[in-house]
Subunit: 192 residues, 2 copies
DNA sequence: GGATGTGAATAGGTTCACAGCG
DNA sequence: CGCTGTGAACCTATTCACATCC
């Protein structure tokens, strides 16, 4: 989202930028509850404000990360650069060599401090970047400590209580998906 | 997928492992074209074989990665460890200090060699881990060179020809999604 | 005229439910 | 009996189309 001197914007303009249909945009904006005017479209800053009200917690959320490997560190770096409503405020690892330091602006703790830190910082969202065989156990510890949303990078499907929202980001699966559909498009292209 | 001494398996067993419904499993297996027998279920190794035939290119695919930052390196490390059908065989970056070396088992090249390497290695899938403002340009270079599938980690929506399959992995968006639904579940939990 | 908001139609994907078979 | 394969019902999400307003 950018403020490039634009005051008002029409649904079809938003549509091409997001790569979706104008009807889609209008219906989604119905959901957030902001109405534009037919002659001027949507007033940009007010629209943004409405969307933010709809999406975000009034009080910024704290996030934890478990697993300070290559991927974990990359993600910490990614989020440390751009301050946003969601802040990764604590990282955990089993390796004693990796804990009690500051990694990309984020304090790291040993696993046994996880429940205490989660409670103290009121963390309800966590990122899992541990090896596959440790993921389910970590997830259970996090949920036990009060976390209600998980972003899982480990290549296993986590089994959690229904009240926990789990988003699975599997690099292998995604890449295979791309390879699969790319191959398919290539085949279609040939016969068309 | 694991070989833990299991010969045959029923759809509902697959279902709980994958966290989906048994009907879903059966319908998906229809698509790959493998039929189980009612009394024994699916014969594990044959099923795997059929799925692989359906999913994968007979000849292993080569993959390129553009953007050797923190995230790029983490992904290289991730794929170097586990040899699979998809191999990341080339990495690219604009930074002269990062090119012409071997990063996590993957050779790195300067950007201007991209078209040549893509052609020589017959690469049709690429991973984009460059900053947001460079992503669209990189995508165009890749497509121009013959790539037909993109896995994009940059926080921008890429605009590409229809014959190119683009998968967008946006860490920020995913994390916000988790935070949003976690909050929602929490609210539902309270009133229920 | 051109854009919005929205009911109605449509498409896509999931679940139901049952015939058939071992 | 219990499981598979699959037509049919169902539900969600997208798109169409049009009344409405500036």
């Amino acid at each position: 989202v950018k403020t490039e001197g634009i005051r008002s914007i029409y649904s079809h303009q938003i549509a091409v930028r997001a790569g979706v249909s104008p009807a889609q945009v209008r219906r989604d904006l119905m959901a957030v509850g902001y109405s534009g005017s037919p002659n001027r479209g949507y007033e940009a800053s007010e629209l943004l404000h409405s969307i933010e009200d709809f999406l975000y917690d009034p009080v910024g959320q704290n996030v934890a990360l478990v697993g300070i490997g290559n991927l974990g560190r990359a993600i910490l770096a990614f989020f440390s650069s751009r301050r946003r409503r969601l802040n990764v405020v604590a990282a955990f690892d089993t390796d004693p060599a990796k804990v009690n330091q500051v990694v990309h602006g984020c304090r790291s703790y040993p696993m046994h401090e996880l429940p205490r830190v989660i409670h103290e910082q009121d963390i309800r969202v966590a990122i899992i970047t541990v090896p596959a065989d440790a993921a389910q156990g970590v997830a259970e510890q996090l949920v036990e400590a009060g976390v209600r949303g998980l972003l899982n990078f480990a290549p296993v499907t986590l089994r959690c209580a229904a009240q926990v929202y789990v988003e699975h980001m599997d690099l292998s699966v995604s890449l295979e998906k791309v390879a699969f559909f790319a191959r398919r498009r290539l085949a279609e292209g040939r016969k068309a």
